[in-house]
Symmetry: C2
Subunit: 204 residues, 2 copies
Amino acid sequence: MNLPSNILAQAVEQLSTLPGVGKRSALRHALFLMKEDEARVRDFAEAVLRLKTHLHRCRHCHNVSDTEVCPICSSDKRQRGLVCVVENVQDVMALENTQQYRGLYHVLGGVISPIDGIGVSDLEIASLLQRVQTGVPFPVEEVILALPTTMEGDTTAYYLHRQLQPLGVRVTTLARGVAVGDSLEYADEITLGRSIAHRIPFEG
Amino acid sequence: MNLPSNILAQAVEQLSTLPGVGKRSALRHALFLMKEDEARVRDFAEAVLRLKTHLHRCRHCHNVSDTEVCPICSSDKRQRGLVCVVENVQDVMALENTQQYRGLYHVLGGVISPIDGIGVSDLEIASLLQRVQTGVPFPVEEVILALPTTMEGDTTAYYLHRQLQPLGVRVTTLARGVAVGDSLEYADEITLGRSIAHRIPFEG
């Protein structure tokens, strides 16, 4: 792309680093921002910068938070013996939206993926084991592995299970099965196979 | 969306103002930036802010520029009697990429669109007429209307033609016709109709 200005080119360069944003979209974004009020663009730039300067990771669960300890870990209304292990912050949000879970979380920050060069030490795994071993901030009774059903997710779950087992904590995982609203005809065969193998009592 | 942090929520809010970016993409962008180095995010924020603080509109043609007069208007290698009128900055870039045009430009900043509340006074129309009338910065021999083939583009072209005609300047428009590489079968009938009505001598 042949841009008429270096300043525009630099903004396009920066905006196109965002995930899924190509040069053409980045140019559209830059020209849009150029037309906005200066105060608006200043707010935009500051809000983005505050992500680095003011946003915390919760000291216990590593979820994003405005404070050193996040509202979930601070709340005395949660079941503090339950820790749900998830890949990332979006997964916490997805689970919170269900309003079905009242325990705590532990955000790994990814899953083990040798191809992407992500190993055990790149993830919040040591801190999870420590949390279970020491009972700080709260004694852990059950660890729920809520990881993606990919090869990397399964590998990570298997690794965590192996590490957690000796610590005498209960380890569970999310139920797998046919999604609510799905017809059997279109469910993939692995899901369908698992859901019949792990069938559950009918709730009339 | 139920975000765990106000700082994150504000960044998502700002990022989702970008054209075509919804809350979900904005969250992905925010979490991506959160993981980048602080120096990188600072560069990002500064590059965006410079769009307002350092980027100019060329005094003559209103194209974006790092300087008060853009490189195209400053160049003595361009045909200065030719002014191509376009809707926006992207159109200048598209025409420059063809390497077929060596004249100057005039960026209107939009087209007349009563539905969107965009009238003559919101566009760089007065400055175009003045440019033709006064011959500043250069005497204009021909104005090429290169506006979109939409109702709004046609309305704007018609309005400009009416205003320019009395000034004694030649007014032309882009050739319309079957796109290069298109088969007739799939060309729309208006384009096909116009392209036979305005047929041109065969260049053997």
